[in-house]
């Protein structure tokens, strides 16, 4: 169904009306195929410039009509072309002789064993289909080319998501192929209201972009806005969903991500059910989810699959880690340099003792260690896996120990920075963690100038920015500000599922009910002791 829909919509050229993909196609705009086979072939070969993997196979349809088969040998399924296209066309003799006028219908209706067949008479459409890995059959005397979907591009198998691992939850992650990804979503939501609309973005990449939403839940204006923002994009290539994210977000200069990405189909399904819209791009294993608010970036799938009490505690721990990764080093600098009287005397003495041999002021010391930590982190990502682990141990342990021994930094600074760095990795969303990790540098500097006062000024600036930020018109800190009671149950803690019978109202879903009241009442009833110890029946 989805494959057919894109297949047909491209050929009809209704959506994304023919945009010149390249200078050579521009010349052929609006030209139609002539009924002379040789002429048509010459035009196509002229455009394709006889590429090495472009195959042109001449044969006779029903042993009488001269025809050619054109395809890129690198992009097709050879067996399919042989068995389902070439064999029936050459072998399946119709009982009576077929004239050129009936040929088109006979081939489509009686001969080809392939479900995805289409015909077109425009050169541009034919060449685009060819580039996509489809097979073209041109027959002498016929003014329509037969296009057969035979594309087969090598893809990796559905695998564990690399960046969003969970202990409890599905193990599937998206891959690069859009059709596989759509299938992963579709089998989770067996409802006819699941809409997957595809369009093409990118003049040269012609990337297929799929917009997924649930018709009866997602707010119609939100869906329209997503389509509107996507439709204005005119770029040469969309190589990853990250390109789209930057082109559709509200504030392009904010450090905070306003679009969530995920490689988990179950996460996409859960978000669709809340009334959000997902955007998938062919060639990218990461789906985009809009609109996104800040609290999504510290939630994980596990929060919902594991028991609520434990996951609420873990979510709070994650949030503390997030806040720590932002302000911990600057608080340390402010207290050590300006207000050492705040901390208990014994500890203040210990800190002062540790810092005795350090020549720099606290702010410089913290900045140096922070920057070297960022360098180490970046280096560990770039290193080949085999040496990465070893080097990170050398980097962190040895350099940290040596820096202290050399009187370069105090042991407490190293502890603070290590805690901060680890804290920033506790955030499930890499982009949100990155934003806060970046923002802690200006905070450290301002705390070195103004102390606690500066830390507060910095935090107020960050908070003000977050409060003014929007994702598709939705305030970034919803459901905290503006407050939404239904949403707050899923903000700091994750309330039991029975407490959240309605979808978050701030997404303005059309259908609000998630659980029926009758079911909740039944679930909450006290259960009989079915297999409890039976009262003295079999006792001696």
């Amino acid at each position: 169904m989805p494959i057919n829909s894109w297949f047909t919509s491209n050929n009809n050229g209704t959506k994304n009306s023919p945009q010149p993909a390249s200078p050579s196609l521009e010349k052929l705009q609006d030209q139609t195929i002539s009924n002379s086979l040789e002429e048509t072939l010459q035009v196509i070969q002229g455009v394709m410039q006889n590429e090495d993997d472009l195959l042109v196979r001449r044969f006779h349809v029903f042993a009488q009509h001269p025809a050619v088969l054109i395809y890129y040998s690198s992009m097709i399924n050879q067996t399919m072309v042989n068995q389902d296209v070439l064999k029936p066309l050459m072998k399946e003799m119709p009982s009576e002789k077929v004239g050129t006028e009936q040929l088109h219908d006979v081939i489509l209706n009686d001969t080809l064993y392939h479900s995805q067949v289409n015909t077109d008479d425009r050169y541009t459409a034919v060449i685009e289909e060819l580039l996509r890995g489809n097979t073209i059959v041109l027959i002498d005397g016929l003014t329509r080319a037969i296009i057969i979907n035979t594309s087969s591009i090598e893809n990796r198998s559905v695998d564990q998501p690399a960046t969003e691992q969970v202990i409890r939850g599905p193990r599937e992650g998206f891959i690069e192929m859009l059709d596989k990804n759509i299938a992963l979503i579709r089998y989770r939501l067996l409802t006819p209201e699941l809409r997957i609309k595809t369009m093409e973005i990118g003049r040269r990449s012609k990337s297929r972009v799929a917009v997924c939403y649930l018709e009866d839940i997602a707010n119609a204006e939100l869906v329209n806005e997503v389509f509107r923002r996507l439709s204005v994009i005119d770029i040469d290539a969309v190589l990853d969903s990250g390109y789209l994210e930057q082109l559709i977000e509200d504030n392009h200069h904010s450090p905070f991500p306003q679009v969530q990405y995920t490689e988990r189909p179950d996460k996409v399904a859960a978000n669709l059910l809340e009334g959000r819209v997902a955007i998938l791009v062919n060639g990218s294993p990461l789906a985009l989810i809009v609109p996104s608010v800040f609290n999504q970036f510290y939630q994980t799938v596990e929060d919902y699959t594991e028991r609520y009490l434990l996951m609420s505690a873990i979510r709070i721990a994650r949030l503390i880690a997030l806040v720590f990764s932002l302000i911990f080093p600057s608080l340390y600098v402010a207290i050590i340099s300006f207000n050492p009287e705040l901390i208990p005397t014994e500890f203040a003495v210990a800190v002062a003792g540790g810092r005795a041999g350090v020549p720099f002021p606290a702010v410089v010391e913290v900045l140096i260690i922070e920057i070297s930590m960022e360098v180490l982190r970046e280096a560990t990502i770039r290193l080949p896996q085999q040496v990465g682990g070893a080097l990170s141990i050398v980097g962190v342990l040895v350099i940290g120990q040596a820096a202290v021994a050399a009187g370069f930094s105090s042991p407490i600074t190293v502890v603070i920075i290590a805690l901060t760095t680890i804290g920033s990795f506790a955030t499930p969303a890499y982009n949100a963690a990155l934003a806060l990790r970046l923002l802690r540098f200006p905070l450290i500097i301002i705390s070195g100038i103004f102390g606690l006062y500066g830390v507060m000024i910095g935090c107020i600036l960050i908070a003000n920015h977050m409060l003014a930020l929007k994702s598709f018109g939705m305030p970034y800190l919803t459901p905290l500000v503006p407050g939404n009671f239904q949403g707050m149950k899923d903000l700091l803690i994750r309330a039991p599922l029975t407490w959240m019978p309605e979808r978050p109202a701030f997404l303005l879903p059309k259908d609000k009910k998630r659980m029926s009241q009758a079911s909740i009442d039944e679930i909450k009833k006290t259960k009989p002791d079915i297999v409890g110890p039976k009262a003295n029946k079999e006792d001696p």
């Binding site: 707010n219 204006e221 939100l222 806005e225 300006f338 207000n339 009287e341 705040l342 901390i343 208990p344 005397t345 103004f450 102390g451 606690l452 006062y453 830390v455 507060m456 000024i457 107020i460 600036l461 908070a463 003000n464 409060l467 003014a468 018109g473 939705m474 305030p475 800190l477 905290l480 500000v481 503006p482 407050g483 303005l508």
Partner: protein, 373 residues
Amino acid sequence: MSNMRQITTIQSAAVQVSTIIGVGVLALPLIAVRAADSGAPLVTLLGLMVGYVGLFAITILGMRFPDQSIIQYSEVIIGKWLAWIGNLFAIVFFAVLTSLAAREFGEVVVTSVLKSTPVEVTVIVMLLLASFSCRNNIITFTYLHHFYFPLILFPGLGIVVLSMKNADLINLQPIIGNDPSHMLTGVLTIGALFQGTFIMTLVIPAMRKPQKALLAGFVGLLIAGGLYVAIVVAAVGVFGSEEIKNLLWPTLELAKATTLPANVLERLDAAFLAVWVTAVFTTLLSSYFLTIRMASEMFRLQDHKAISTFLLPFVFILAMLPTNIIQLYAVIEDVGRVGLYITIAYPGLLLIISLVRKKRGNQPSDNVMEPLH
């Protein structure tokens, strides 16, 4: 185009609270004690009543003209030129209020934590922060207040609760004070601390249900006033009225005198002051927002962003005019009392004239507002 009427009743109450609670709290017990010794809590309570008079005047006016701010409906009520004069006074008054609050907090910071920083720096930092945040619309402005509201209320309450163990009931007696003759001045000075209620004139035109503005204002002022009275009670209870007369910022001293259980932090004053930055920021934000919104409405400007930057140097110069803290507090008390003419007498007059001339604005229809987008 998103709907501009989306501020809820709770949010407008939060705006009230965080606008009113500001730098004035730090010196509040001193002002109250100067007026009536141990009768300070009573003076504060009476000051709150004065605040309520202003609140009711501005809110009832706002509910008569639910789509307009004071700039627009004053022109309807008393004519363009008279309104122009009154509004100009209001704009200048709030600009002065912004500058004095910034200067006062700047002085607090350089006196107690950043001893070697020039006061100009701390003042300009606060003013920059306010003017930068004023560039948003009224909805985001409300979000800011809503977000900071708990961060302001709970540290204040925390200080009160933690210091109660040192309080002595005898310090609070007699509750009417020993010499009630100065009470009226004190009541008016403290009443001037509640001038933030004027912000209702900008909030009401964006409220989802303007008919609930009175409730929102009442609750907001009750919370803020309750905290004021609690702080005065705690300060007088802990230090006694004679001791407070020797303290410049008794609330800060109160924070200094309290300790957290388990001795997590040895002293609380620096931490309290850091948290109080948010309270001062929200107050500055409101008074500066009032200034620039009213100015841009009066001069019929489309956008108030440019005026926010334009007015900043003037406000800064105003803030630097008082030469020292003593003069600063004298100016603050005078300006506050003069301000009562603008925040209470002017709206009151407008209200009476509008009642006499039977002027009212469009009443909001009862149908449910269109949701956002």
